[in-house]
């Protein structure tokens, strides 16, 4: 009886932690999206002047610029795609965390969002490779691509959890 009570108390504390974590993360995503927007506007409209003097615009390891007007058009296009994807991904993450905040852990929507995040990481890896190629650095680091595949793998595992949950709901 006591052990059961402790378990449920621990479970409640854990769920509460997830809720708090999702709230904090959603706030940070908001801040990050705001900063990313600023960066995109800085690139397109030359607002970089409002940022601190030592600020440099960095798109990838070897794509760093001090002024927006010296960025070549292909790099600007790739950077726009990259940050566009970042913004979309931030939105997906925001919604996923919203579902976690509501206590919905194993739903079809969650799995779709997680899978999308995996695809995003792989696409971002390709865009980064193209950006580095523009700087004549053809560096291939597979860590990011493997991370993307691992996220898709996690989505499959969560899908198994969803099936268990559905089975449980159907059990009278």
């Amino acid at each position: 009886m006591n052990a059961t009570g402790n378990t449920s108390k621990n479970g409640g504390r854990r769920l509460n932690r997830i809720k708090i974590f999702s709230k904090v993360c959603r706030f940070l995503i908001g801040v990050y999206a705001g900063l990313s927007c600023l960066l995109i506007l800085a690139c397109w409209f030359g607002w970089v002047a409002i940022l601190p003097g030592s600020t440099k615009i960095t798109f990838s390891e070897h794509q760093t610029y001090t002024a927006p007007f010296i960025i070549p058009a292909p790099v600007l296009a790739l950077a726009t795609v990259k940050y566009g994807l970042v913004m979309f991904c931030a939105l997906v993450l925001y919604r996923l965390l919203g579902l976690y905040g509501q206590g919905k852990y194993f739903t079809a929507k969650n799995i779709t969002y997680i899978r999308f995040l995996g695809y995003y990481v792989v696409v971002d890896w390709i865009v980064n490779f193209l950006l580095e190629s523009e700087a004549h650095y053809r560096t291939i680091i597979f860590t990011q691509a493997v991370t993307g595949l691992v996220i898709i793998f996690i989505a499959w595992i969560m899908d198994e959890g969803r099936k268990i949950k559905e089975e449980q709901e159907l059990t009278v």
């Binding site: 932690r17 997830i18 030592s54 390891e61 198994e160 449980q168």
Partner: protein
Amino acid sequence: MSTTETLSKSSSGRRIRIFSQILKALVLIYLVGLPLVTLAVPALVDFLEVHFVLLPGQTIGHINSAASQPEVAPSTKIIGALATTVYLIAAMVFYRLLNLYEKGAIFSPAHVRLFRLLGFLAIGKGVLTIAGTLLPLDRYGLGLVLFFILHSAWMVGGFFGIMLACIMDEGCKLKEEQELTV
């Protein structure tokens, strides 16, 4: 029946098992295969221009080349070595996790423990990487410190790993309840 219930024999269960085998092979190639090739075939390494990246932006020249190496600050070397150690431990923990999935277990306390450990290791790696990158502050300026922290994939991944561990724990409870249902 134990809590480490086997994966369903459906196509998704098979898919998870096959994919974990592939990922295990990739981890082995990365941890054992690549260092062996580096030592055994120096010509290939020189041809591919393999570099050892201590920390972002801190590349130590060709591994096999006798050419002079660029100056790296001792503090950066220590942080880089620590970050690499954490990275290797995380790779081993990940391998153990994949082993469990390959055996067919999906929601168990062992998974939760390993996921949580992976999360903490990723946060550790993130902190070390940020410390190593921001150490020469003149390179980036303090204005972008927050952006750097939020942009650290390791930190974000670490926190999500811990959160996933909590969700996996919920999955464990569901599994236990399912097993108790007649």
